[in-house]
């Protein structure tokens, strides 16, 4: 009987852990993410990720990146530390960055936190996430031109993720928390398109 009870508990634990992953194929439970974040945060050796301020001209240059065609497709994720779905999707984005960087992806995490957070909450969060992608905080007096430059149909809700091909055209966009499977499929396609 003891063996059966143990078996029962094992199945229950497995089901609880596997449930959210089964929901979208790639997701993990928020509880697990929170625990992971805390675990990572305790590691003192991880350095703060450098976060630069990006002004209007810098943003223009980021989108243009010289004269297309560019060597690498560009993925921009607009986020903020105060945005819950942004925080929730970040572990998936970190994985995607790690998986696709060597395959030629240029990934930029563009925070709209207050520029005064460039040395505090933003790099701390990125460190906790073990993020390695380029990271900026938008530093513009009016955000509307930035929103419109990316997508005129975008209202500015966060998070928002845009994938540009080598010609600088948006080939995938998602407003709200990403579906990692869909984003990976788009990345596979844009990277294979030469």
């Amino acid at each position: 009987m003891k063996r059966l009870v143990c078996l029962l508990m094992l199945f229950v634990c497995a089901a609880v852990c596997a449930g959210p992953a089964a929901a979208d194929g790639v997701g993990r439970s928020l509880t697990r993410r929170g625990a992971q974040r805390k675990r990572l945060a305790r590691k003192p050796s991880a350095p703060l990720v450098p976060v630069s301020l990006l002004d209007a001209e810098g943003f223009k240059q980021l989108l243009a990146r010289g004269t297309p065609p560019n060597d690498r497709p560009l993925l921009i994720n607009f986020w903020a530390t105060w945005c819950e779905p942004c925080r929730e999707e970040f572990p998936d984005l970190v994985k995607i960055d790690a998986d696709y960087r060597t395959r030629g992806l240029d990934f930029v995490a563009l925070s709209i936190d207050d520029p005064t957070d460039a040395a505090t909450s933003v790099p701390k969060f990125l460190r906790d996430m073990r993020a390695q992608m380029r990271a900026y905080i938008l530093n513009v007096s009016d955000t509307e031109p930035v929103i419109n430059a990316v997508d005129r149909t975008w209202g500015g809700e966060l998070p928002a993720t845009f994938l540009f091909n080598r010609q600088g055209q948006v080939v995938f966009q998602h407003k709200g928390r990403i579906n990692a499977k869909e984003l990976r499929a788009a990345l596979d396609k844009v990277i294979s398109d030469r």
Binding site: L4, L7, L8, F11, V12, A14, A15, V16, A18, G19, P20, A22, A23, D24, G27, S29, F78, A80, W82, C83, E84, P85, I112, D114, S141, D142, T143, E144, I147, N148, T153, W154, G155, G156, E157, L158, P159, K175, G176, R177
Partner: protein, 206 residues
């Protein structure tokens, strides 16, 4: 109980937990609806409950010169950054015949939370609870805070941000107030749409 029965029961329980956990994870979406009300279009009357459950129609809440619908949130720092400005706006324009109405369409924020939040933040204008985000879907609202300013005939004359900076000290464009003053002066609204970053409205999964 036979061993096979226990195993079958265990597997059933595990499957049920998987389904429940999947449903809970998928029960929220940030996916916005496509905008459906264009500038100049008339917004049809609607009825929503306030945070005490009392029903209010648009036509019962509208001011004689117009109505400002603002999608707000209890937990969104951007929306919360505008609490004082929204309350001041409501007070400044109430006497001019324009009423401010807050709308909470977040599935994650129940009416009781909206009510206590309004009391805590001293928001005196009416706040409606948009269960199922139906009005948000109808208007195409995507974020908080997001404004839909309707004139006396319920025509949409301004859509978008309140102003251009979350930090009040950095505001250089008072887009909503400019639109309100234009309508009160009988002039066309110079800038009928303006954007800013905000929190996505948390909709229930369809």
């Amino acid at each position: 109980m036979k061993k096979q029965h226990v195993i079958a029961l265990t597997l059933s329980l595990a499957c049920a937990l998987v389904v429940l956990a999947s449903a809970a994870y998928a029960a929220r979406t940030d996916e916005p609806a496509a905008p459906v009300v264009a500038i100049g279009a008339t917004v049809a009357d609607f009825t929503l409950p306030d945070t005490d459950g009392a029903a209010h129609s648009l036509n019962s809440l509208k001011g004689k010169n117009g109505t400002v619908l603002i999608f707000i949130a209890t937990k969104c720092p951007v929306s919360n950054g505008y609490n004082e400005r929204m309350e001041k706006l409501a007070q400044d324009y109430r006497t001019k015949g324009i009423n401010v109405v807050g709308i909470n369409a977040n599935v994650t924020e129940p009416a009781s939370e909206v009510k206590s939040h309004a009391a805590e933040k001293h928001l005196t204008f009416t706040i409606l609870k948009d269960e199922g985000s139906k009005l948000a879907d109808r208007l195409g609202a995507q974020r908080t805070p997001e404004v839909f300013f309707l004139d006396a005939d319920n025509r949409l004359v301004y859509h978008g941000r309140i102003d251009n900076a979350q930090n009040p000290a950095n505001v250089t464009a008072n887009d909503l107030r400019d639109a309100l003053d234009a309508v009160l002066a009988g002039k066309p609204v110079a800038k009928a749409e303006a954007k800013a970053f905000g929190c996505s409205i948390k909709r229930a999964a369809s």
